[in-house]
Amino acid sequence: MNETASVVVVGAGPAGICAAKALVAAGLRPVVIDEGLRAGGQIYRRPLVDDGRSATDLYGSEAAKATRLHREFDALLPSIDYRPQTLVWNIADNQLHLTANGVHQRIGFQNLILTTGATDRVLPFPGWTLPGVYTLGAAQTALKAQGCTIGKRVVFLGSGPLLYLVAWQYVKAGGDVAAVLDTAPFAAKLNLLSAIRFDPRLVLTGMSYAARLVRRGVKLHYNVRPTGVDGSQHVEGLNFKSGAKTHSIACDAVAYGFALRAETQLADLAGCPFRFDDRDRTWLPATDDAGRTSCKGIYLAGDGSGIAGADAAEISGELAALAVIQDSGMAADPRRMSVLAGARRRKAKLRDILEKAFPFPQNWFDQIPGATTLCRCEEITVSSVIDTVHGNDLRELNRLKALSRAGMGRCQGRMCSAAMAEILASTQKLKLPEIGRLRAQAPIKPLPLSLHEAGS
């Protein structure tokens, strides 16, 4: 009664595009399902309409890659079953549940490649829910896809390669960047020197952003912890500490984030076993080098299987497709697979170093007042969560969600689960892997109540 596809690829970013390309090359016709309006993923996202900007304007140093991937995907269109603007919201019994335009559909699969990507990893600070505070990814998306800056005068805050890149993109687009506030100490950046041998172009380009920002007169601060946002209806300024000094900057927008977190809900619903990843400080679906999970027919690629960046996503997308081809009894070039696996391992080593250069801000909550909102959906405060931990001697994350309501809202913990985990672990003096992980629940994103079945 429902259709069954031999291969479904979820996601059309670099991983999904490269997976689809390798599948088509092997003579398969994959179904490619993507939430986006146009293929490219978040990193190579295209504006809804042409706005006169060139690929270099949009993607900077990555313009050639973006253009190539867009062109390759467009060339694939006759050979794939492409379903844009379609949300996969559940996986059960080897079936995907999809919705597009308020219509519900199921599609069975023999093989499934999940390339579900990542979202910004964020932590709460006083004022982070105020209009004008956005994630770094949001600041970049506003500019890249919509040609807007998130404010007139923007402060960039956090840790991760995106921090300097997006600040520079804002300057280049004519935005006023009030400051770049790095939560890591300057010394952490020295780690980048040892990353040069893995990818000199990427590392040197990345390092150049800070230099260019300084040349444009943008102030950089290190070792920063934000202490509050001025304004009651929207951002009017940001207060922060840099080391022992306190500062205050007038601004009407703040873009912040701490690298990315993998979107793993579909892998969870599919039943994939998870492992704790020390570098990403979270649980990730376990895979082999080629992206195979221990669930038959289910493969992972791209940032959704662990944050590794766009170039690594291209590699892992192709690898997962070759694994599908090989496991289906068709010919997959073993040399190509081992070359890709080697390249993937080198990207992972690069990532290890980048994590040292842009470290997660440990002890974040030492300076966060209890009244700060932790869960922005349910509006649960930090102190309310800590009280729930103490009052019930909690040691497990799902239990904390059940009793505190944090993580129970529309976003299913995407914006607060990292904070919940850090707070629970530090409050109870436990290690992060000891407190478990939030279980995904269908639907992984809100569904219209009036959803109706296709054909009904």
Binding site: G132, Q146, G147, R376, E379
Partner: protein
């Protein structure tokens, strides 16, 4: 979205002269541009999208990629849409009254 919040949050740097797309918020007429998402259209003319359910604090979206679910807005017909992933269409009528509250 009363007048004192009408300070635009977003600043357009491109598509400024693109075709204007009319829409309303609580009956007040505004225009976005061809190629806008609902979020960009609204945040380019005002300072917030909605009030939060439990503390009535202003909210204006957060992640812009359909993950944080912070930017749902209500159309006059009662349909709720996620502003950051919904393209603006001409004559969309947004209401900041809570759905089901009439």
């Amino acid at each position: 979205m009363a007048t004192h919040h009408s300070r635009p949050q977003f600043q357009r740097h491109f598509r400024r002269d693109d075709a204007h797309i009319p829409f309303t918020i609580d009956g007040t007429a505004y225009s976005g541009r061809r190629g806008d998402t609902v979020l960009v259209a609204i945040m380019s003319v005002t300072g917030q999208l909605r009030r939060s359910e439990f503390t009535s604090e202003p909210r204006a979206g957060f992640c812009l990629i359909g993950a944080c679910q912070d930017c749902f807005v209500t159309l006059a017909c009662g349909t709720r849409v996620r502003a950051c992933t919904t393209p603006l269409e001409a004559h969309m009528a947004f209401t900041t009254r809570e759905s089901g509250n009439e």
